[in-house]
Symmetry: D2
Subunit: 313 residues, 4 copies
């Protein structure tokens, strides 16, 4: 496609121009800058800009604690302390700006994170491309019986093919009719000068929720970690998790110390309620506590067991 070539050329130009600055830079992140990291079938995440690094977190903490931080001699130790005790403001001193291409139904989950800045492609102004998300066969699964909001077993190959065909057909037809309403062809040219072009803000309502949109999304590191804690979690829907996982790798290149602390104290940590702690104490004292004698609900018991299972990360 011509347009894709143009974008690739623009990125190559951006990546070829180095600028001198007094601001510290992060070489491992610079290596990723501007380049789209593919997600799903047509989506991507790319870093457009960033501010700060591991050291900026430490520096902000030292402003807060003043002379008091002299004792914490090591930077990583300080970052881990901040993460463990939910001293979140130093993490807010780092900022990242992403360019993301994503299906509309994923965008609708994502936008619920309010503490971020967003500029989304507007279908009131411009025409959306003919690109929709069609899940890969291994992602097509039945409704979970155990989890009302999740997926269970994958479909058979034949069933998956049927579903994919149906999704592709409906999305294509809806987009074709959308262009028909706009009286435009795929290249954006007027089809029939004698016919009216329905307003873009109206025509777009005919599109399906798997149509791709795109946005700039900017967020500080504290709120980015909050996003990742929810969206890189196994309970998150696969499609948004796919984005979160790519972003997690970007964060690891950017702030490796903070990313390690986040994994240990948030992503792979577990919260034990007061009733669970009581059970733990009994077990550590040698008592064989059964689900029945635990005083926990079945669901809580299962959650505690899952957190303590060796297979948990």
């Amino acid at each position: 496609m011509d347009r894709n070539q143009t974008e690739a050329d623009e990125i190559a130009t951006l990546r070829a121009a180095t600028h001198a600055s007094l601001r510290p830079s992060v070489p491992a992140l610079e290596a990723l800058l501007f380049t789209p990291q593919p997600v799903l079938d047509h989506g991507f995440v790319r870093v457009i800009d960033y501010m700060g690094d591991d050291n900026a977190i430490v520096q902000a903490a030292r402003v807060s604690y003043g002379r008091g931080t002299r004792r914490v001699s090591e930077d990583e130790g300080l970052i881990r302390y901040l993460m463990r005790h939910r001293h979140s403001t130093p993490f807010e001193m780092c900022e990242m700006k992403f360019h993301v291409k994503l299906p509309i139904f994923v965008a609708r989950q994502w936008i619920r994170h309010r503490t971020a800045n967003v500029n989304e492609y507007s279908a009131r102004y411009s025409v959306l491309d003919r690109e929709f998300y069609i899940p890969a066969p291994e992602q097509l699964a039945v409704q979970s019986a155990a989890n009302r909001q999740g997926r269970g077993e994958p479909l058979s190959a034949a069933q998956a093919n049927q579903v994919m065909a149906l999704l592709a057909e409906d999305a294509s037809r809806c987009h074709a009719h959308y262009l028909e309403l706009l009286n435009e062809d795929e290249e954006g040219k007027v089809r029939d000068p004698a016919r009216p072009a329905v307003a873009r803000e109206l025509a777009r309502m005919n599109l399906t929720l798997n149509t791709y949109t795109q946005w700039y999304w900017k967020c500080d590191l504290h709120n980015l970690f909050h996003f990742l804690a929810l969206r890189a979690d196994p309970h998150a829907q696969y499609e948004i998790r796919a984005y979160a996982e790519v972003m997690m790798r970007i964060v690891e290149a950017w702030v490796p110390m903070a990313a390690r602390a986040f994994r240990d104290y948030r992503l792979h940590a577990a919260s034990f309620s007061a009733p669970m702690l009581a059970v733990l104490r009994r077990r550590l004292a040698g008592e064989a506590v059964s689900p029945e004698s635990s005083g926990l609900s079945k669901r809580e018991w299962a959650e505690m067991e899952a957190a303590l299972a060796p297979s948990a990360q």
Copy 2:
């Protein structure tokens, strides 16, 4: 419909039960409480709860200004002063909770207002009803030539009918296939026990953007006014403006003094830039300023003229 009857019964029950409270209540708003105010073809806005009234704004301002406010003897004068000088915090002391039913593409515009609380119907958990927005013929218009994001002339009756039929057909087919993926009929019963039910979180991507969703949306009065200033404005898309106008009438029943001040100082006010003020001064001094001699861009000149036109509200 059975479900509609159930909802009507629930509302009647709620409206029949009066509770005693030390909190002040607003009779004109109580008359509207819980009852859906229709918007578009299947949408509604209804007030679920509220906190505060005109007097709560005054009371909060008097806390800020302490003895200093004794001079402003009249409540409405104080409210107008606060509105004029953008002293916004007293307005934040009032809060309203709405239940709204709205097309997804409208919800996507609405959610951009971040300073609000939202609980939206989740299509990961539950099945969306077969209800979509089809614009009335008088709302179907061509793309505006003057305004890249707006509508121009309405379509002819024949053209409008064609568009409505196309929108209805695509939305219906997509929803039918959605139920087919879920292996459910319209009543939510399993269609074919031998077939798998695709996960709800996947099947929903086949729906069109005019499908109705619903949410609880809660906002303080300052941010509600900000929402109304943007969305009750003639530049807003008709479909969200239809909601804003119903909400504006609700606000007038709730806080009549603040609503009047909002109309005078925000909704029907105009901002004049430094260059426009320079032109105004010349004109008031008797000079006949032309667009060319004004130093304004064409677009700014037109905006100034529009603000000064007698036809403006």
Copy 3:
């Protein structure tokens, strides 16, 4: 004092007037409405208004989950599920407005909670009363050696008396000079018509940080719980904790189910990091893990032991 009598009369008047509303009310909270709950030596917290109750949380969750929630038959079970899984938006549907009188140094900690609405008494407009916080002897303690931001052992009675005298003397002198700058006496009358009155916005800078201020502070229940989790915690400074504890009791009167869930899953819960979970698994498997063999830092080991100690709530 005359002014105190006036305020008491106003509260009595407010408490005598019952209003009918279709909004549900909470009798246990109505019993507290408007009445100041004393905190510290001159401070108070009083509820001015509220919106919602336990049932409003359930109702908002059911909007989100739609038909999906029919299975969770019991309201308290649903609220506990929401709290445990950090589904925070239904808690945002409840709102409370407080009137608080508090020392300025406490206000400076409190205001860091950004997701709230505030109207503070303005010392640019009005004159601050001659009231300062002087800690009770049992609260006067030495700097903690273990915790760089905390208190250690209390002072001896003689030392405490000295400190209290010094604090009272400095605050009094500074306030007396403040009035002198304003050329006002304690009743707000001009002292010497021949002398100028320095601007209030300037004179106030002479006051000490233990001077009392007051504000209206409004917050949704999710953010109120976040405030309480941080400020009712033993690591919080005693003075703000004193406010948080009174507010916790108010919340218990207001939303008893949510308050219980908050105690179990937040306030008295503990988070175990990935490395701590590894240690726990080894201990539950019967291994005697020592601090040295645990792989944890000394500080983390101590934190884990504290969470598992029987004396922890």
Copy 4:
């Protein structure tokens, strides 16, 4: 002072190290980076980091408007359009991080801007230096008669000297007693090993509100403009305005196009209410409207006249 020398050395080191990055940099801002810009008697503002430039605003707008923006050929025209129409989200794509030293009473006004990230020096952890703000004689003024929150005429030289002496004496004595409570001398050494050191979190309450504190403060450009619109305004208290004016000059070095648009459409613009617009129309039609025949309140009339006065900027 040793400490000042250390800080100067650190800044010189930072300014000597240039880093290569693919991120665009702004030479006019790089020239200011890290260097303290003095404000008031002991305060400063210095830029620690930044993200984005004028071009980043344009780039974000073009993502939103897609192909639709091709028509707006010129970048500055697009930025002015965005500013005029309050399309604020592209401005949110730029971010700046400041290090600020400021009196506590100024910090209390500043912190009311909630959409920012803050790390303040903590007097629970560390000891505050013996530095307080004493207004310059020309800033010492009487309470304004016209404006309940403002200043009027300056004091005479003799009166000003008296006030300055009183402020300096009270602040000094309070700080001396603060160190006495901490049992520390000015160099942070223990004074008397036999005496207890009162907890820092307690001792600090003896300080006056003109004591200097410091913080890192990070904000996006949209919210920074909002801050500047309120705080660079003549109605703002002089002391915070002094900071805003320095920050405005920094913003002009950073994003010159956006800064110009901000001056024209926000800082030096005026809002005319619906009743004022009616008066303007009558005057432009040649009618001699008097305050009495205008239908405006006295105060609104005066505000309109002020906006139209040639002396206004």
